[in-house]
């Protein structure tokens, strides 16, 4: 191409479908726009940047069909990348694992971890409700022995759900409480033990060490990271540091890191769904559950298509 036609078509943002393929310069404006949109939808800056770079790397040099809009090509490439990232590479069927554990005569232990106030205890109660509906026998362990009212919060849920609670009050070592709770769940022939832990900042060394201690002592079957959809750029740091902490300890062939993510408060963010992407991109862990309200039935699965649509709309 060249000359007048080429510059005219360039202005329209169309590819000439020429010999050289797309250039970085040609796709740059579309990339800038998409990055901004991702950030408006609450994707962490770092993740939005990385995504756009990988889309660029894929597109540069590619030949588009004649007169296709460059912005459409960029958008499609990004859509494909988003879908790929959000679609779980490994999936965990909790009910199947619970049944397998039952056959072994061991309670299946799930630990809920995350920063302060994200919804660990509430969504733990929702999971209990879901398990009960699936005829699973549940026990809850009150291993947040720090925050005011944490034990009473679980007591209330347990009374409503008619589920046994293992608690030793406040200021006890949470790792030991969990340890005893596992024995209690075994004795009571419970299928599942749900372990609530205190919220903690990922930079808080002593508290992070204590959490690693709880996990290495008790070797739970599933470590669920609970994160809220409201969180901004901090999502990246939270997942990185919680994951790192668990990996540091990991020994043996199947190192225990974050097994899955429970994404909460999805009902509070309209189309700003970017935290889902930041969390999965950072950790590689699947979003196993989505909290979408404050009552027991408000727990769903991630709808990847809908999230991608919200991100690009």
């Amino acid at each position: 191409g060249g000359g007048l036609l080429s510059s005219f078509v360039g202005k329209l943002g169309m590819s000439m479908g020429g010999t050289a393929g797309l250039t970085r310069q040609e796709i740059q404006p579309a990339l800038v726009q998409l990055k901004r949109k991702l950030m408006e939808r609450n994707v962490a800056e770092e993740i939005a940047e990385k995504l756009c770079e990988s889309v660029a790397a894929n597109l540069v040099g590619q030949k588009l069909g004649s007169f296709r809009l460059i912005s459409t090509a960029v958008k499609e490439a990004l859509e494909a990348a988003l879908t790929r990232i959000l679609t779980p590479k490994r999936s965990i069927d909790v009910l199947r694992e619970v049944h397998a554990a039952r056959a072994r005569g061991k309670p299946y232990t799930m630990v809920f971890v995350g920063v302060n106030g994200v919804g660990k205890s509430t969504n733990l109660a929702k999971i209990a409700y879901w398990l009960l509906q699936n005829k699973v026998k549940v026990m809850i362990a009150a291993c947040d022995t720090f925050r005011a009212g944490a034990v009473e919060q679980l007591k209330t849920h347990c009374a409503r759900l008619n589920v046994p609670l293992y608690e030793r009050g406040y200021e006890k070592d949470p790792a030991k409480v969990a340890f005893e709770a596992i024995r209690a769940a075994e004795r009571a022939k419970c299928d599942v033990l749900l372990v609530d832990t205190a919220g903690r900042m990922q930079d808080n060394e002593p508290l992070m060490r204590a959490l690693s201690g709880l996990i290495s002592l008790n070797e739970p079957d599933l470590v669920l990271f609970v994160g809220e959809a409201l969180v901004g750029n901090d999502a990246v740091d939270q997942l990185t540091k919680f994951g790192q902490r668990l990996a540091d300890l990991a020994t043996g062939p199947n190192p225990h890191t974050i097994d899955g993510i429970l994404l909460t408060k999805f009902d509070t963010i309209d189309d700003k769904v970017g935290a889902a992407l930041s969390m999965v991109y950072t950790s590689g862990a699947p979003i196993m559950f989505v909290g979408c309200g404050q009552t027991y039935p408000d727990l769903t699965r991630l709808n990847v298509k809908a999230v991608v649509r919200s991100l690009l709309k």
């Binding site: 800056e45 720090f146 005011a148 808080n204 969180v231 750029n233 408060k265 009902d267 509070t268």
Partner: protein, 308 residues
């Protein structure tokens, strides 16, 4: 707090224009790009960041027309001004300061889990040290264990409290509690409410009813320091529903830089009065917007700088 990190990035970007030989469009764009990236990483609202970029550019270009003006200084000052404008609602923190000898009724509102109950107790403890006679009222009848949480915090800080395990209407409890403590001549009555969000209108209606029944002298909107781009819309919805007079940003002891909450100030038009810096009752500090930007940029001398 990692505010310093943001401050360093901005200060570094500003250094860039100091060392450049001439400040052309390219130098300015590069500097602004770095600043904007730092702000976006701090969760500042995307639209506010774009506005900052445009405003600084306009001021820099206007400076071109005036002869003899130092363009570098103009750009630096424009950036600092824009940052201050972003975190400074124009409202004076002094107007939200409590007055002794009159009855202050403070109502805490905010999203779920942002730290209202914890902060309400910290706020009481802070003012108790200043000679106030605080009392806490639990008007959260929804969250499991809410009353026990408030009770235990109240005992830790030795503040009288009021609440109920059986009453389900928060407006009734709130009114009862406030009345009781007014009779007892407590001069700082703090009402803690349930978490809520703009998508559920019934919850906002409930908040208006509580406000109606206690007639607060000040409504404090509490916000989690790690909140992202949803901050602005939520804050605005709260402001449109009740008369938010001040903001408290919590969990500033974490890694998050608090920019989401900072941009919510633009939505509430209310000043940030305090920040929370930990789970313990004394981890609570006053906040001052201008000093904050100074600290952000790692300058102790921002005052002189801004007045230049």
């Amino acid at each position: 707090m990692v505010l310093n990190e943001l401050g360093q990035s901005i200060a570094k970007a500003l250094e860039g224009i100091k060392t450049a030989n001439t400040i052309d469009d390219k130098v300015l764009d590069a500097c602004l790009k770095d600043i904007c990236t730092a702000l976006l990483q701090a969760d500042i609202n995307v639209k506010l960041v774009m506005k900052l970029r445009t405003n600084v550019k306009t001021r820099a270009n206007n400076a071109d027309k005036g002869a003899g003006l130092d363009k570098r200084k103009i750009i630096e000052k424009a950036v600092v001004d824009e940052l201050i404008a972003m975190v400074d609602s124009g409202g004076d923190v002094k107007t939200v300061e409590l007055k002794k000898g009159q009855s202050n009724v403070i109502m805490f509102v905010g999203l779920q889990g942002c730290g209202k109950t914890t902060t309400a107790s910290k706020y009481g403890a802070f003012h108790k040290k200043k000679g106030f006679k605080p009392a806490l009222v639990c008007a959260d009848t929804f969250r499991a264990g809410a009353f026990d949480q408030l009770k235990q915090n109240a005992s830790k800080t030795q503040i009288p409290f009021y609440g109920s395990y059986t009453e389900t209407d928060p407006a009734i409890i709130a009114a009862q509690g406030v009345e009781k403590f007014k009779k007892e001549k407590r001069d700082l009555i703090i009402v803690d409410t349930s978490g809520r969000h703009k998508q559920e209108e019934a919850l906002f209606e409930e908040m208006r009813q509580v406000a109606e029944s206690v007639q607060p002298t000040l409504v404090i909107f509490t916000m989690d320091g790690s909140i992202g781009q949803a901050a602005f819309d939520q804050a605005k919805a709260f402001r449109d529903s009740v008369e938010v007079g001040a903001v408290i940003v919590t969990k500033m002891d974490g890694h998050a830089k608090g920019g989401g909450a900072l941009s919510a100030v633009a939505a509430t038009q209310a000043p940030i009065a305090f920040i929370g810096t930990g789970e313990h009752m004394d981890e609570f500090e006053r906040f001052e917007a201008k000093a904050f930007v100074g600290r952000l940029l790692g300058r102790g001398d921002w005052k002189g700088f801004v007045n230049k």
